[in-house]
């Protein structure tokens, strides 16, 4: 049995991560789930949150994603993220600015669709804040 699985993190702009890892913990919509090698095939939506990448029993990387989809099978875990940042590159100031921008957008939104867009932006920004806290 292989003791690693290929983890791939892809955003629309590019392939961000593609490497063998021992485990990933993905923030699914219905709760976090860990994917180990030989995991049963699964598709899940991803909520804004942090993906923990484990190598040799230790967290090797923590990546913030702003929602997307995850596909897991025996040998592979693919996450399609709309937006992804390494947690170490996020700073308190930039996140605060994002929350403020989202709140402003929410205030100025007049149509239902604009409001929904602003609300989801705010949720992403708040999840970001929770991630770095």
């Amino acid at each position: 049995m292989a003791d690693t699985l290929d983890f791939e993190l892809v955003s629309p702009a590019k392939l961000l991560v593609s490497e063998p890892v021992s485990m990933v913990v993905v923030p699914g919509t219905e709760g976090n789930f860990g994917a180990l090698p030989q995991h049963a095939p699964m598709l899940s939506t991803v909520r804004p949150g942090v993906i923990d990448v484990y190598k040799n029993g230790q967290i090797a990387k923590r990546i913030f994603v702003a929602g997307g989809f995850a596909e897991v099978n025996e040998t592979r875990c693919t996450v399609l993220a709309e937006e992804a940042h390494d947690l170490s590159t996020l700073t308190r100031d930039s996140v605060d600015a994002r929350i403020q921008a989202a709140k402003d957008a929410l205030q100025e939104a007049d149509s239902a669709s604009e409001k929904a867009a602003a609300t989801s932006k705010l949720k992403v920004a708040e999840a970001m804040l929770a991630a770095i806290a």
């Binding site: 702009a13 699914g28 598709l43 899940s44 939506t45 693919t78 399609l80």
Partner: protein
């Protein structure tokens, strides 16, 4: 015969043209590199999304509750064609090829008795189609690719497509764009995005013991999330491809133009020198025969 002065002016003007075309070639070449990188970087996402969706679609297809974006509206009377072109010309057959393919597609559909609607992305496509298909254009966008393809712009176009679909304005949606292959080869491609074409590989998958996927939340929930994203993604990746193709087409068109200008300068210089020599000879003959006559 053209006078020496005329020839000189002509040679200078061709030289200036050559300067411009060779500068445009350089600019296109550097833009091409960036656009090509972007297009290649964007491919993995599109490929994986298609794989994921294909997986999901083949398991949901045929069930009654399948979303409209996947199953279609049950008819194919109204077609929406998204014509993706550039905002600027001087790039060889780039825009013309897309427009020609669109025209042909419109003809095909009309002979089948379907209604056609057009959505133009890019100024050149709109300008060319306006002449004979003005009544079919429902919306046109321009200036979207000024700074390279941008997901936000693609999303905006996709939202318009989805809103129209929800309103029942069309049944089938097809993108026409240039797929980037190399700097000298771009392939005009038609791609259906609504309803999502379920890949034919499901036959092969059925042959073996097919892995059953677990879905979290339910299949329907994921699909209703994934399908609109896929439309946006397809629009985005076609924009990326188009952007790279445009720069490639412009680069080779300008390369040709530069070479032609060089040839022309050579020919004109030859004529200029001959004419100059002929005039000198003529003057000499006049002087000599004048002296002889005395």
């Amino acid at each position: 015969m053209a006078s020496l002065k005329d020839l000189r002016v002509r040679i200078n003007s061709v030289k200036n043209t050559r300067k411009i075309t060779s500068a445009m070639k350089m600019v296109a070449a550097s833009k091409l590199r960036r656009a090509q990188e972007a297009a290649e970087a964007g491919r993995p996402y599109a490929v994986r999304m298609e794989r994921m969706l294909g997986n999901l679609a083949s398991s949901v297809a045929g069930t009654a509750g399948a979303p409209k974006l996947l199953a279609g509206t049950g008819k194919s009377d109204v077609h929406l064609i998204v014509v993706m072109t550039a905002d600027r010309g001087l790039c060889g057959g780039f825009n013309t090829n897309v427009v020609r393919s669109a025209r042909q597609f419109i003809r095909e559909l009309e002979t089948e008795g379907k209604t056609v609607k057009l959505l133009c992305v890019g100024r050149k496509g709109r300008d060319q189609l306006k002449r004979d298909h003005a009544d079919k254009i429902v919306q046109s966008y321009e200036g979207l690719a000024r700074k390279g393809a941008d997901f936000a712009n693609a999303d905006m176009v996709a939202q318009k497509i989805l809103a129209d679909f929800d309103a029942g304005a069309f049944d089938v949606c097809t993108l026409i764009y240039n797929k980037f292959q190399s700097a000298i080869a771009q392939i005009t491609t038609r791609q259906q995005i609504v309803p999502f074409p379920v890949p034919a590989v499901s036959v092969e998958a059925n042959a073996g013991p097919k892995a059953l996927y677990e879905y979290e939340p339910s299949e329907e929930d994921i699909l209703t999330d994934l399908l609109p994203k896929n439309v946006a993604m397809q629009v985005y990746s076609s924009m990326l491809e188009n952007d790279a193709s445009e720069q490639g087409a412009r680069m080779s068109a300008m390369d040709n133009a530069t070479r032609n200008a060089g040839d022309m300068i050579k020919k004109l210089t030859l004529v200029y020198n001959r004419t100059r020599q002929a005039m000198i000879t003529k003057e000499l003959i006049e002087i000599i025969s004048g002296a002889e006559a005395l």
